[in-house]
């Protein structure tokens, strides 16, 4: 190996400086040009692909495929309807403080741009010209079952598109639970309050007015 290499460098005692310089330059510069390990022949999320006809490395799911652990049999949880097909009255799992907090956070991310943080329907996007949604505090919406809200979020309603792709099912339910809390915050009936709290309120100002205190403001 070294035998041939050395003849290139020193030919019959005459130093061929230009050759040496070029070889060295190629060696030094060439090192930085190999990108094989930077761009390995593997796909990363959302990368473009020259192989598939639609140019995407991320493949769509074949219709009818059920991923492991994703068989959505429970129609109450995944469709908001019971086996007879009518809307479930309540969130199909127990609503804890953690669920409400999660719902609060998710509502602010995905719904507040239009429905605003209190649910009046005057969000930023509405102010910029989007159709104005009804207030979530309308009587009609206060009286509908929880399952209806779940369906609206999942499939959309009129001008509002569905949020199934952005919000997973349990988060959708958490949002529904939070909307209930919001509704309550604007329409709390004094008679339904715990006794101690009622006494506390009575000591305050007029206790008969709707209580305007709610999670949306903290």
């Amino acid at each position: 190996m070294s035998g041939r290499a050395s003849t290139i460098v020193v030919g019959r005692g005459r130093l061929r400086a230009p050759v040496v310089v070029w070889v060295l330059a190629l060696v030094v510069l060439g090192v930085g040009c190999r990108q094989d390990m930077h761009d390995q022949p593997k796909y990363q999320p959302l990368e473009a692909s020259a192989f598939f006809a639609d140019g995407r490395a991320s493949r769509p799911v074949v219709p009818g495929t059920v991923a492991r652990g994703q068989l959505r049999e429970d129609s109450r949880l995944y469709a908001g309807r019971d086996s007879a097909g009518s809307f479930v009255e309540e969130v199909p799992f127990s609503v804890t403080r953690a669920v409400l907090d999660r719902g609060h956070e998710r509502y602010d991310i995905y719904c507040s741009p239009c429905h605003d943080r209190v649910g009046n329907g005057n969000g930023m996007i509405v102010q910029r010209g989007f159709k104005r949604p009804p207030s979530l505090h309308e009587e009609r919406l206060r009286d509908t079952p929880d399952g209806y809200f779940f369906q609206v979020v999942t499939e959309g309603f009129g001008a509002m598109k569905g949020y199934a792709a952005q919000v997973p099912p349990r988060d959708r339910w958490a949002i529904v639970a939070y909307i209930r809390a919001l509704q309550l915050s604007q329409h709390a009936v004094l008679a339904e309050w715990p006794l101690e709290t009622r006494a506390e309120l009575a000591r305050g100002a007029s206790a008969s007015a709707p209580v305007r205190r709610g999670p949306a403001h903290d």
Binding site: L46, D54, G55, R56, P113, M124, A159, A165, Q166
Partner: protein, 215 residues
């Protein structure tokens, strides 16, 4: 034999040997500078996009949360770029006729992808994961800068190994409360007190082993 060189040549030669050291150092320094410059790292270079989507407009002025579009950032490695359907949630009504948005509508009609130009791209031999950073209290802004003030996105940091390690050695300088992760404008009152406290609370370790990122 008469002297060819004047006596002062001695000094010259000494100085030039000495100087050569500096010249060498300067070359090395220069190379290091080039290596860290935006010419190599692309930091600070805004990239043209097929649609002039503005974070300043959407995330800044309209106040849309990062997660409305980058839905997976808390759960998996990749933050993801939103599908066209996400844009159409609003643009089915807003700026419906705008020629700027024609590529978005075309993509929605035909089911083709918008060919967004990638801004951040680590070499494939590096493993990176958003979710761990979000869970351990590192805000988007610490790595991506004020995205909410950028019209076209650029890369704020060098993304070189040195940069990752600088934080992995001293996470207390960057950690923030979890609820402020998506708040671009957040500033600590006193990071020197808050940092170590959050390090303990979130049980953050100093991860500098090679196999954390090269696996």
């Amino acid at each position: 034999m008469p002297q060819v060189f004047h006596r002062s040549a001695n000094t010259f030669s000494k100085v030039s040997i000495f100087g050569a050291l500096f010249a060498l150092a300067a070359v090395v320094y220069g190379l290091a500078l080039i290596n860290r410059s935006s010419y190599v790292t692309w930091a600070g270079v805004a990239r043209e996009q097929p649609v002039p989507f503005s974070h300043r407009h959407h995330a800044g002025e309209l106040g849309i949360d990062c997660r409305y579009c980058h839905t997976t950032v808390e759960r998996v490695a990749s933050a993801g770029v939103p599908p066209t359907a996400t844009c159409m949630n609003c643009h089915s009504q807003i700026w419906r006729m705008s020629p700027t948005l024609e590529p978005v509508r075309a993509s929605y009609r035909d089911g083709t992808s918008i060919p967004w130009v990638r801004v951040h791209d680590l070499p494939d031999f590096v493993y990176f994961n958003h979710s761990i950073h979000v869970h351990k209290g590192i805000g988007c802004q610490s790595c991506h800068g004020r995205i909410d003030e950028m019209n076209l996105v650029w890369q704020e940091s060098s993304l070189q190994m040195e940069w990752c390690l600088d934080c992995h050695r001293n996470p207390e300088r960057h950690v923030r409360p979890r609820k402020e992760i998506f708040n671009m404008a957040w500033k600590a009152d006193d990071q020197a007190v808050l940092g170590p406290a959050l390090m303990r609370e979130y049980e953050i370790e100093r991860r500098v082993d090679c196999n954390v990122c090269h696996r």
